[in-house]
């Protein structure tokens, strides 16, 4: 059992609670234990960077320093939390002057950043480090025939970190295949969900969401799998508003990849937070029933 510090982020406390539940449950069966970071604060989303860069780095560094104190690598399930923490970690390691400024502020909370831990996104951890092979061995309820669109979104993949493939990544697809599902070729898999534009530039955002849903329909996906609470909320909870705005009739379930993974691993749907969707997850019902019957 390998232990990581889990940085849930504000969304996973409530609006994306099912993501937190399904992440913890699925990871445990794959030999990964999460310990919630003690007194974490908001990662800053995009808003801090609109106001002050040093403040943004300081707030992410406070979370990193707490994980360092526990001597645990940190895992973020949200793409924005992940991007902020990953790049804060890298910038502070490469810029001693910036680190000194940040550490001066951290002293107030008895913390210190030294750059000795790594930051990972949950999808990377499960799809790449645990890996499809280990997942395949643990699958007891393969999602045969379920057509899933792998939606990477933006900040898991971007900005570029080293020389990795930012145009055609495949690790999400490989994880879905390991679950026994069909990974749909989804051309918009890397396109933006509109992020916080749903609040600040509503019309533009709704049309971005419409395009993503239409693309999934065109590719005959039964469900879109996401790895970020903001993507999930934008694509699912705003689907009704898209329909009202554009006269469409989308009814596309949008689930966390960990919920699908959990089902494939034979975890009962309730423990994966299935049932709190606004767009009912009808296409996964047969697979969920199978787990319940077996239990």
């Amino acid at each position: 059992m390998k232990t990581y510090a889990l940085f849930p982020g504000c969304s996973l406390e409530k609006i994306a609670l099912s993501y937190a539940q399904s992440a913890v449950e699925s990871a445990r069966l794959l030999g990964v234990e999460f310990k919630e970071l003690a007194d974490w604060n908001c990662c800053g989303a995009t808003a801090y960077f609109h106001v002050d860069e040093l403040l943004a780095y300081t707030l992410s560094a406070r979370n990193l320093a707490q994980a360092e104190r526990e001597n645990l690598d940190v895992v973020a399930p949200c793409a924005a939390c992940y991007k902020n923490m990953y790049f804060t970690n890298e910038y502070l390691k490469s810029d001693p002057d910036l680190a000194e400024h940040v550490n001066f502020a951290l002293e107030e909370d008895g913390l210190h950043f030294s750059g000795k831990i790594a930051v990972r996104h949950l999808l990377e951890l499960l799809a790449r480090e645990v890996g499809p092979e280990q997942v395949r061995q643990r699958v007891t309820n393969p999602l045969e025939g379920l057509r899933v669109a792998p939606y990477y979104g933006c900040q898991i993949i971007r900005p570029r970190k080293a020389n990795e493939d930012v145009e055609q990544p495949q690790f999400f697809e490989e994880l879905l295949l390991a679950m026994g599902a069909v990974a749909v070729d989804y051309p918009y898999k890397l396109r933006c969900c509109s992020g916080s534009l749903l609040i600040t530039s509503r019309h533009a955002a709704l049309s971005l969401v419409r395009d993503l849903l239409q693309c999934a329909v065109d590719r005959q996906a039964a469900v879109i799998a996401t790895a970020c609470p903001l993507c999930q909320v934008n694509l699912e909870c705003y689907q009704q508003q898209v329909n009202q705005e554009f006269g469409t009739d989308f009814s596309m379930p949008v689930m966390y990849f960990t919920q699908l993974l959990g089902l494939a691993l034979g975890i009962p749907p309730k423990r994966l937070g299935i049932g709190s969707e606004l767009v009912e997850a009808t296409p996964v019902a047969p697979y969920a029933d199978r787990v319940e019957r077996a239990a």
Binding site: D109, T200, L208
Partner: protein, 187 residues
Amino acid sequence: MQAKLPFSQEISNLLYAAHGNPVQTCIQCGTCSATCPVADFMDYTPRRLIGMIRADMKDEVLDSNTFWFCASCYHCTVRCPKGIDIAGLMYGLKRYSMWHGHYQEGLIGPVFSEAFVKTIMGSGRSYEPVLAPSYMLSFNLREFLQEAQTATSLMLKGRLPVLPPRIRHLEEFKRMVERVIPLGRTS
């Protein structure tokens, strides 16, 4: 006395701080505009905006909605053949316009960012119900009702928080923030 920096240089300096190439290296190829999913809704495309910055068209740039419509998806950044961090540039422009209080009237972006940061400074964590007035008040009636409907559905599914969360070390947290921005307290 030293001459004042031209606008293009001011913005380039911001971009150095964000670990990107300066805008002066832009070859106006338009890859950013072709990649951007929001370009159709912007007053000027990203390529055009960079051209305007280089021409020191400060007022036109700051008065545009372009950078406030950037969702920070970094698609342009990873594709720029000159390695300019264009999403980082949009962040730089947002900060510049916030500091100078110079932005297009009626935009929700600047108001929301300020409300968000103040919420975090007060409690350490984000809380939707406190943030909602910063943007819902500028919605028209139809948008307001749609948003209220979505919120109601979420509440019925137990997906909205009832009580505002706060971190335990709030006093230490506030003192930490004061070491970065010594501007007094927000709550």
